[in-house]
C-alpha cells in the first residue's frame, strides 16, 4: 500500500470564519512540508495560499507557520506519514490561509500611500 501524508490546513481570511481543507498526498521519505504544499497547488488546489520564496534552502525565512501547534519553517519540517495540522502564525495579522502579514510596517503599500 502507498503511504500517505494527510495535511489538514486552516483556510480562509479573518472575516470568513474558520474552515479546514484536508489533502492526502503521497508520502516520500525525506520530503519537506513545503514540498507537499507546493505539490497540492500543482495537482489539486491552486487557490491554497502560503508564503515561500527560496524553495527549501531556508534562506528567505518566509515559510514560517504552525505545524501541529509548533512554529516551524515548512521547508525544514519533514513531511510525515500521518495527519499533520497546518495553521498560520498566531502572533501576526492573518491575511489568508497560511499567509500572515510578516512584512515590516515601513515596507507595506499602505505606508507608501501615506507618505
Amino acid at each position: 500500500m502507498k503511504r500517505v501524508a494527510t495535511l489538514i490546513v486552516r483556510r480562509g481570511a479573518p472575516a470568513e470564519g474558520v474552515s479546514w481543507s484536508r489533502y492526502d498526498v503521497a508520502y516520500e521519505p525525506g520530503q519537506s512540508v513545503l514540498d507537499a504544499l507546493r505539490r497540492i497547488r500543482v495537482d489539486e488546489d491552486p487557490t491554497l495560499a502560503f508564503r515561500f520564496s527560496c524553495i527549501n534552502a531556508n534562506a528567505c525565512k518566509e515559510c514560517l507557520m504552525l505545524v501541529d501547534g509548533k512554529v516551524v519553517y515548512a521547508c525544514t519540517a519533514r513531511l510525515q506519514s500521518r495527519e499533520m495540522r497546518l495553521e498560520p502564525l498566531p502572533n501576526k495579522a492573518h491575511i489568508r490561509d497560511l499567509v500572515t502579514d510578516i512584512a515590516p510596517p515601513d515596507e507595506r503599500l499602505s505606508n507608501a500611500r501615506n507618505r
Binding site: 500543482v42 487557490t47 495560499a49 527560496c54 521547508c75 512584512a103 503599500l109 507608501a112
Partner: protein
C-alpha cells in the same frame, strides 16, 4: 471554495523620480546610488524586500581583482571573463564589471559585510574555476549572499527617504512617446491596482532560472524583467545562453540547504568528481582536475551529462562528488556548523560521496543595454542579471554579485541624472490604460496555472536544458504555443487577498514569453558554444561569433543577428 469579495478595487497612484523594480543586490545598489545623487527613489519587489531573488541564495564567492591574496590587475580578471565567455562578451560591459568590482568590494567592506580575512587583515580570496589566480572573496560559512543582502538592506534602511514597497507585482511598464514614464502593477496582499509615475525606471528582477524544474533560484526568478522590457519595446540579447550550475545537489535528499552549496566546498577542499566507476572523468573532456577545481561551468556541465548518457552516472542520474579523502578535522575547520546541518540530513562526508547534477543557475542573456545600462527605450535601464551580454556564452564563477553591485550603482547614478534633467516624460494615464484594464478584468479559468508552470518547467528541463537539438527545441516551441492558448489573454478574476492563482497566471504570462525567446534563439544558433550545446551541431563555428537579439513586433518575437562590438581581445585570449 467560496470567497467573500472583500478585495480592494481602488487604484493607488504613487510618484517618484527613480523607480527600481527588484530588491536584490542590483536593485539595492541602484537605490543607494540614486538616493545619494539626490533623486527620490522607490524600491519595490514582488516578494518581501531582500528576501526573494538570487542574491540571498548566493552561497559562493565574489570575483574582484583586489590583489589581497596575490598581486592582481582588473585587466587579468577581464581577460578571464572574456575567455570564459567564448568570444561573445560585450567588452564594454565586461570591463565595467572587472574595473569597478574592487571598489564595490571595498565599499561593502567599509559597510562591515564581514569578508573572510587573513590574520594580517588582507581579504581571503579563493581560486575559482576559470580564474588565473585566487580572486574571489567570500563570507563564512556559506554566507556570502545573505551577508550581501543584509549589508545593502541596512544601508537602504539608513536612507529613510528611499520608499520601499514589498509584495507589489509589476504587470507592465508605461511607455509614452518612446520613453519610460512608470509602471502598473498590483498589491499581492490586497489585490488593489497600483500605478507609479517615474522619470526613470531600472529593471533589477534577476534572471529566468524558475523556467526550469531543477534550479537554484527563488520563486520570483521567472524572467519578469525580460518580459517587461520586451513588451516595453526594449531588445533582448544572447537569450540562448542559460548557465547550468554543474554540481547542484541531487541525493541523498537534503532540506534546509541550498543546492549550490558544494561549490564553496570544492573551492576550499578540492573534492573529487567521480563517475559510477569511481574515476575522475573531467579530464576526458577538458584539462585534468587532479583534486583541484578548474573546469568552467559549461565544460563541467557538458562532461557530467555525457557521463550520465554513457551509462556511467550515479543512481539518481548525476555523478558522485567525494570528500572522503579530506578527513573529518579538515572538513570541520573549513565549514564548522555546516557539517552539523549535513549530519542532521543524514550526510557524513567522511563516509559517503553525495550525488550532484547540473541545475539551472544563471542567465547570460538579458536586456540589451548600452555602456550606461540604458535600453533602447529612453529612461529605461537594467542592472544585474537582467542585463544581457557582459558574460557572453558562459559566465565566470564569482562575476554575478560583482555585476549586480557594479551595474546597480552605475544604473542608479545614471537614472538619477536623467531624473534631474529635462528629458522626462510626464505620466500618461492613456498609456497605462491597457494594463489597468488587464489587472481589473478577468474570467474564470479551468486551467490550473500552478500545474502549467510545473509543466513548463519540466518541458524546459527536458528540451531546452544544456544539451539541445532541433527536434527537442521544436517540440518545446510547439508546447509553449499550446500553453499560451491554454492560459488565454486575461487573468483569473480577483477573488481574494493574497490570490496565489492570479499571481501564478501573471508569472506564467511572463515565463511563457521568456521561454519562447530562449527557444527561438537556441533553435537559430546551429553550433555549440559555451552553455549552448547542440547535439546536432556539436562544434563551435566561427561564423557564429555574432549575437542574436530579440524584439517584439506586432505581438510576434523577431530574431536579428548582431555583429560583435569588438573581437581583438577574444582573439588574443585564444
Amino acid at each position: 471554495m467560496v470567497y467573500h469579495l472583500r478585495v480592494n478595487r481602488e487604484t493607488t497612484h504613487l510618484t517618484t523620480d527613480v523607480l527600481i523594480i527588484g530588491a536584490g543586490a542590483a536593485g539595492m545598489s541602484a537605490a543607494i546610488a540614486a538616493h545619494d545623487s539626490g533623486a527620490r527613489v522607490m524600491l519595490i519587489d514582488r516578494s518581501l524586500i531582500g528576501r526573494g531573488g538570487a542574491t540571498v541564495m548566493a552561497q559562493m564567492t565574489v570575483a574582484a581583482a583586489l590583489g589581497d591574496e596575490v598581486a592582481d590587475d582588473w585587466r587579468c580578471h577581464f581577460a578571464d571573463t572574456i575567455k570564459a565567455g567564448r568570444g561573445l562578451c560585450d567588452e564594454e560591459l565586461a570591463s565595467l564589471v572587472c574595473e569597478q568590482a574592487p571598489a564595490a568590494i571595498r565599499q561593502m567592506d567599509e559597510w562591515r559585510i564581514g569578508w573572510a580575512r587573513h590574520q594580517d587583515g588582507r581579504l581571503r580570496q579563493a581560486e575559482a574555476p576559470g580564474h588565473d589566480r585566487p580572486r574571489c572573496v567570500y563570507v563564512d560559512f556559506l554566507n556570502t549572499g545573505p551577508a550581501v543582502s543584509r549589508t545593502l538592506r541596512t544601508q537602504v534602511q539608513r536612507r529613510p527617504a528611499i520608499v520601499r514597497i514589498g509584495e507589489l507585482s509589476i504587470v507592465d511598464l508605461v511607455i509614452a512617446d518612446g520613453m519610460a514614464c512608470g509602471a502598473v502593477g498590483f498589491s499581492v496582499t490586497e489585490g488593489r491596482t497600483v500605478t507609479i509615475a517615474a522619470k526613470s525606471v531600472i529593471l533589477c528582477t534577476g534572471g529566468l532560472t524558475r523556467l526550469y524544474a531543477c534550479n537554484s533560484a527563488s520563486v520570483n526568478m521567472g524572467g519578469d524583467g525580460y518580459a517587461l522590457g520586451l513588451r516595453a519595446g526594449a531588445e533582448l540579447i544572447d537569450m540562448e545562453f542559460v548557465q547550468f550550475f554543474p554540481i547542484g545537489h541531487l541525493a541523498p535528499r537534503m532540506i534546509g540547504m541550498d543546492p549550490i552549496m558544494w561549490d564553496p566546498f570544492r573551492y576550499k577542499l578540492g573534492g573529487q568528481l567521480l563517475n559510477a566507476e569511481g574515476r575522475e572523468f573531467i579530464g576526458d573532456y577538458d584539462r585534468i582536475e587532479e583534486g583541484h577545481y578548474r573546469a568552467t561551468r559549461d565544460v563541467a556541465t557538458y562532461a557530467i551529462l555525457k557521463e550520465v548518457a554513457a551509462g556511467r552516472g550515479s543512481p539518481h542520474g548525476g555523478v558522485y562528488l567525494s570528500f572522503r579523502h579530506v578527513g573529518a578535522d579538515k572538513l570541520r575547520a573549513a565549514f564548522g556548523p555546516v557539517i552539523d546541518r549535513l549530519q542532521a540530513n543524514g550526510i557524513d562526508l567522511t563516509r559517503e560521496p553525495i550525488e550532484v547534477a547540473p541545475i539551472a543557475h544563471y542567465h547570460m542573456g538579458g536586456l540589451r543595454v548600452d555602456a550606461a545600462l540604458e535600453t533602447r527605450i529612453a529612461n529605461l535601464f537594467a542592472a544585474g542579471e537582467t542585463v544581457g551580454g557582459a558574460n557572453g556564452a558562459n559566465r565566470l564563477s564569482g562575476n554575478a554579485i560583482s555585476e549586480a553591485l557594479v551595474f546597480g550603482t552605475a544604473a542608479g547614478l545614471k537614472a538619477a541624472t536623467r531624473a534631474h534633467g529635462q528629458r522626462g516624460r510626464a505620466w500618461s494615464e492613456v498609456a497605462a490604460q491597457e494594463t489597468i484594464a488587464l489587472i481589473g478584468g478577468g474570467e474564470m479559468k479551468r486551467a490550473n496555472p500552478a500545474s502549467l508552470i510545473a509543466r513548463l518547467q519540466i518541458l524546459m528541463d527536458e528540451r531546452v536544458g544544456p544539451l539541445r537539438s532541433e527536434a527537442g527545441l521544436s517540440i518545446a516551441r510547439a508546447e509553449i504555443g499550446a500553453m499560451k492558448k491554454e492560459i488565454g489573454d486575461t487573468p483569473p478574476p480577483v477573488q481574494s487577498e493574497f490570490d496565489s492563482m492570479r499571481l501564478d497566471w501573471f508569472d506564467l504570462r511572463n515565463m511563457l514569453f521568456v521561454a519562447e525567446s530562449v527557444v527561438l534563439a537556441a533553435l537559430a544558433r546551429r553550433e555549440s558554444r559555451g552553455a549552448h550545446q547542440r547535439e546536432d551541431h556539436p562544434d563551435a563555428d566561427s561564423r557564429w561569433l555574432v549575437h542574436q537579439t530579440i524584439r517584439l513586433d506586432n505581438g510576434r518575437l523577431v530574431l536579428d543577428a548582431l555583429a560583435r562590438k569588438h573581437d581583438a581581445m577574444w582573439e588574443t585570449a585564444e
